[in-house]
């Protein structure tokens, strides 16, 4: 199959497929007599693997590691498990950080309830201050 068909099957862009090839994530395919890339099932599978990982928020370096494990099917899968654990840890950290950010934004938003000029707006006044723990409304509750 040609690159357009492949991209369609996995639901990504043609350019993305070529990008993965350049990055060495998928093997260089054969070319037909016109110089067009010609893909087989194994390419499709690898590409699905990559896109599946990406859909779970994995980075390409991590997917590269997983592909490495995949090339050693008889190896112990503890590396895979560890990689997943790292993903989970990271996403939990991100969720926590975002939660903090949300609280900060809510506190800041509350500084301007009624219509004001930009000069008088509590949000603008707060932003004009340095980020200081326990000083500006959005960073008031932050721990030191």
């Amino acid at each position: 199959m040609r690159i357009g068909e492949l991209a369609k099957q996995v639901g990504c862009d043609v350019e993305t497929v070529r990008y993965y090839e350049r990055e060495g994530l998928i093997a260089e395919p054969e070319r037909d007599q016109s110089g067009y890339r010609s893909y087989g099932v194994s390419h499709l599978e690898t590409l699905q693997f990559i896109r599946h990982g990406r859909s779970l928020g994995m980075k390409l370096v991590e997917i590269r590691q997983l592909l490495n494990f995949r090339h050693h099917p008889d190896g112990d899968c503890s590396g895979v498990d560890a990689l997943l654990d790292v993903q989970l840890e990271r996403i939990e950290e991100q969720i926590a950080a975002m939660g903090t950010l949300k609280e900060q934004l809510i506190a800041l938003r509350a500084e301007c309830e009624q219509r004001q000029t930009n000069r008088g707006c509590g949000i603008m006044r707060s932003l004009n201050q340095a980020v200081q723990i326990r000083q500006c409304p959005c960073h008031r509750d932050e721990s030191v």
Copy 2:
């Protein structure tokens, strides 16, 4: 004050200050006789404003808008309020998306409980499948 002092006061890198200048976020400062940038209080305040916004997850385009509002102190601050509301909306969306991702990762992680080869590992087997709603364990509960 010189760039090093300025950067220290707001807690960012010297290169970042120069970057903001290139981007037009802070005004070009005067130069002393050696060609060194010479900053005043207004530069410090603008930089604090920018860093404060960044610490709240705002993008530079958004901060640019806020700086614009700041240049019109007598204007109505509804634009500021709206911008904050967009921030909040965005972060709530992100938190929700991350929550989904976390559930997916947990489901995937559960596919491999005991030690296996890479070939037999439930995680690897799932990743080999296409991302299919209600088909792979991590995307089983996703809505269509």
